[in-house]
């Protein structure tokens, strides 16, 4: 019988992989920079795609089965925004996600929406 393997690192030790290692050192994504609140919708990758996609790409795809913002994805995966943007740029390039531009600038002046927010805040 062998002794159970002891983990010598934990979350407190910080990430054991440099952030940009998961983007293979790339700091620029394909295409335009994604807005923080752009909405990402992914599609399930085909079985053969799963074999060559990186784990981070797959995790991202798993998280965006439902529409989700770039900021939420970065927060959820715990990776810096720049890294998330590179990975999302890849997925978009491969046609695995669609990107909706954020409508924040429209809603920012939309009285109806602002009233909804106000009412919700009152009842919070």
């Amino acid at each position: 019988m062998t002794a159970p393997k002891r983990r010598w690192f934990d979350d407190a030790a910080g990430p054991i992989v440099r952030p940009y290692a998961v983007s293979r050192g790339r700091t620029r994504e394909y295409g335009e920079t994604l807005d923080l609140l752009a909405v990402i919708v992914g599609r399930a990758p085909a079985w053969e795609d799963r074999r060559w996609l990186d784990p981070e790409h797959l995790r991202l795809l798993g998280l965006c089965r439902r529409p989700v913002t770039v900021a939420d994805l970065a927060s959820e995966l715990g990776l810096p925004l720049g890294v998330i943007r590179v990975l999302l740029g890849d997925l978009h390039y491969w046609g695995l996600i669609s990107v909706r531009p954020p409508q924040t600038h429209v809603y920012a002046h939309d009285e109806r929406i602002l009233r909804i927010v106000l009412n919700e805040l009152y009842t919070l």
Binding site: V39, S75, T104, H105, E111, I113, L114, E120, L121
Partner: protein
């Protein structure tokens, strides 16, 4: 990047509406506390260039080739039942993070400038920025236990802000108070939106 077709006029307004608010103010003015009091605060990291301003703060000995550093931003989200989500982004106070402000301000409905009466001058930069951009903002004076109390009128004079700009006293550790800060900025944004588009 080409966006897939999305027409806001056709899309149901109730689907995935995001409203963005910024929380600005000097270092230690209570931005993190405010975001944490009213919303589910979540970690969000981004990169900032290492500049000479970071000397003495960021130890770069041995990594002189390193050009960026990772910084944590205050990020919170309140998801309402009506499918509207309110996103709060704390704008990093230190000068070397100014490059991020334009991105954060894009599409924002309004901003809160948190002020500390002991260091009012720390909020000047944020006030100038929002005035220049024409972004609706309110000044929320965070009443720290040890800080001198001034009435709103004196704070307004000291900050030299437009009489239109709401100034409120708050204690962002208290949920009700923090909520009222958000209420006041949304009310203000609503007022200004009404002026932009005269009654239909």
């Amino acid at each position: 990047m080409s966006y897939t077709h999305f027409d806001p006029a056709v899309a149901e307004p109730e689907s995935q509406v995001a409203i963005k608010l910024l929380i600005a103010g000097g270092f230690g003015a209570g931005k993190t506390t405010l975001v944490g009091t009213v919303s589910e605060i979540r970690p969000l990291r981004t990169e900032a260039p290492l500049t000479s301003a970071g000397v003495g703060v960021d130890d770069i000995v041995g990594v002189e080739g390193k050009e960026t550093t990772t910084v944590a931003m205050d990020f919170g989200r309140i998801t309402f039942r009506s499918n509207v989500a309110l996103y709060l982004f704390g704008t990093p106070g230190q000068q070397r993070f100014w490059f991020m402000w334009d991105e954060l301000a894009k599409g924002a409905a309004g901003a809160v400038v948190l002020a500390d009466t002991r260091r009012l001058a720390d909020s000047f930069a944020a006030i100038d920025y929002f005035e220049q951009r024409g972004l609706p903002f309110v000044v929320a004076v965070n009443c720290f236990d040890s800080a001198p109390r001034y009435d709103v009128h004196r704070v307004r004079t000291a900050l030299d802000v437009d009489p239109d700009v709401p100034i409120i006293l708050c204690d962002v550790r208290r949920r009700e108070s923090a909520k009222l800060v958000l209420v006041s900025i949304v009310e203000h944004a609503l007022r200004l939106a009404g002026r932009r588009a005269p009654a239909r």
